[in-house]
Amino acid sequence: MSQTITIDPVTRLEGHGKITIHLNDAGEVENANFHVTQVRGFERFSEGRPFYEMPSLMARICGICPVSHLVASAKACEAIMAVRIPHTAAQLRRMLNLAQMVQSHALSFFYLSSPDLLLGMESDPVKRNILGVAAAKPELGRAGIGLRRFGQHIIELLGNKRIHPGWVVPGGVTEPLASAKRDEILAMIPEAHKNLRLALDAYKQIASSFKAEIGVFANFPSNYLGLINDDESIEFTDGALRLIDAKGNTIEDGMTATRFTEAIGEAVEPYSYTKFAYYKPLGYPDGSYRVGPLARLNIVSKMGTPQAEVELAEFKQLAAGPVESSFHYHHARLVEILYGIEKIEEILSDPKILDSHVRATAGVNRLEGAGQAEAPRGTLMHNYKVDENGKILWANLVIATGQNNNAMNRGVLQAAKHYVKDGKFTEGLLNRVEAVVRTFDPCLSCSTHAFGQMPLEVSLVDACGEAVDRVVRG
């Protein structure tokens, strides 16, 4: 008899999702899906708001990476204003975005994934969490908390708030950096390096024991998309996008946010509130691609900071072309944290970083604008249309998780086929299927959309658990 295994909720993720694994009569895995189960509706309820409120409004989508939304949204607003922001403002925002990348990556690696990596996929589920890690490997637990605090504290110093700082506005930032704050950030750098080195060394030691997982954790050729600078180095805030194919050849380079809106389409599947982004010239699903740490390191040829450069070279040794297994997202994440720490120090040594000119002002000069940035988990694009008074008529957000959606689903199927045999499975095996999704560090709360009339099912269940009525709309 055919059977469906449901993992609901998928744990240690940001947001709400579930996995269903469909077995055929022979007990073999026929299909598997990763479902994002809740809708948010930000694009709709921003309609009618003044465009310059968008950064703070959109940042409320998420408490993990509000800064990415602030930056992408402010850039979309600046496209509407048709202004170039002051150099110092751009550098300060770059630092803010890097600080958020560091704290978010630390959250993903230490809090969400390190229980699987350090304690083992089969370890006792009761202890397979950050507290278990802190008990078994206290120095690594402390390093994770330390790196998270490093990023969060920089955000607080710059924006006066750890979460949802109101500092990033269309045209720049609201106040310049004080020299005391610069010195405070610089003083935190050595400890951040120490914590990261601890984690990177620990990861490299254990990575070889996960050969089986590396083999089936979304390990397939795909396209990759991410921001890159003119000098081929990694970029999170400015620069332009590059899309490469499975062999590492450039499909399209120098993509601006406006070009992104033309070239990237979003497909809809009935089982998920998250859309499936794809590169239109290649069609759906062939034009699907991956974003995030793995994609970024696959795209760039250099990091631009000395220690991260060495680590990138080592990372590139994992494969002849692009690194394909999503398991390596973990490794890429740590390399990016290292880059973030180094780059923040570099930005702080910019002689103009304390300059007081940090904001450009303008009204509505264009009726449409798009902005893009790298969120910790991948490329993020905001696109707005406004009326002549600057009120939002239409908004579209393309979120990293939507761009990884196809790969996550394929990865879940690949792992399910490997781990579920003859309809038999254990908790540890199903945890591996969940862990595939965790490698992508998806942020589900950002990524949901309602498309047309979504099917809605309401079941009335009596006290014994028997369904007494069921209504389906859609």
Binding site: G48, Y52, G166, V169, K391
Partner: protein, 237 residues
């Protein structure tokens, strides 16, 4: 009138105070550092007693009276902070929050809002009334400013400052009761009105209903303290 009869003596919160004839309870209380919460009142503007937050109890009267428009009488015994008054004030604030769409977290005035501050001071932890969630317009037609009716509490400070201080009187109130809404000119878009672009209405607005387009983010404090000085200098001429 002789100077003698101009002085009134009264008791506010068990404190004996003296006042000049014609002063309001609010003025006398504040002179004696007795705090009475207000929202529609602003030094430098006429008082209308609209928000009812300054209601006080007066011995011998069953009615609660607004301190901003009630003048002192000889021998009055006034209470400003009884439990009954506090309960009323909290309810008034809850009604203000429930009436329109006040989302502090994404408001331009978050952290600088008089309504938000009052709610915190009065210990408002939740709203017991159902939110009305009305669909209200945002008028962004003005070159420099925006009015968002979602955040308006109809205190009419903008109407008064424009009429009494700037002398332009472009703001007014249209409709009655729950349908009341602030309009510019005869319900024309603000950008097409006779507005002098002085910005006084923005500075006196206690919430984020009126705001400066160039000051979005965490940097939109308002400075309504200029009004008494402005009035003083004009009278001195």
């Amino acid at each position: 009138m002789s100077g003698e009869s101009d002085v009134k003596t009264l008791v506010i919160d068990e404190q004996e105070v003296s006042a000049r004839s014609g002063q309001t309870i609010l003025e006398v209380a504040r002179e004696n550092e007795i705090d009475i919460p207000t929202l529609c009142h602003l030094d430098g503007l006429s008082d209308v007693g609209a928000c009812r937050l300054c209601l006080v109890e007066i011995k011998g009267s069953n009615k609660l009276l607004p301190a901003c428009v009630t003048t002192v009488q000889e021998g009055m015994e006034i209470s400003t902070g009884t439990e009954r008054l506090r309960a009323h004030r909290r309810t008034i604030l809850e009604m203000l929050f429930a009436e329109r769409n006040h989302i502090c977290s994404v408001c331009v005035s978050n952290g600088h809002c008089e309504l938000q501050t009052l709610a915190q001071e009065q210990g408002l932890t939740h709203v017991r009334l159902p939110y009305r969630n009305p669909e209200l317009r945002v008028d962004a037609s003005h070159e420099r400013f925006t009015i968002d009716h979602n955040r308006c509490i109809l205190c009419t400070r903008c109407v008064r400052v424009c009429a009494e201080v700037e002398g332009a009187h472009i703001w007014d109130v249209m409709g009655r009761g729950i349908d009341s809404i602030i309009i510019s000119d005869l319900n024309q878009p603000w950008g097409e009105s006779a507005c002098t672009r002085c910005g006084k209405c923005v500075q006196v607005c206690p919430t984020g209903a009126l705001f400066d387009k160039s000051k979005i983010g965490s940097d939109h404090p308002k400075y309504p303290d200029f009004l008494p000085y402005l009035n003083l200098m004009r009278e001195a001429k």
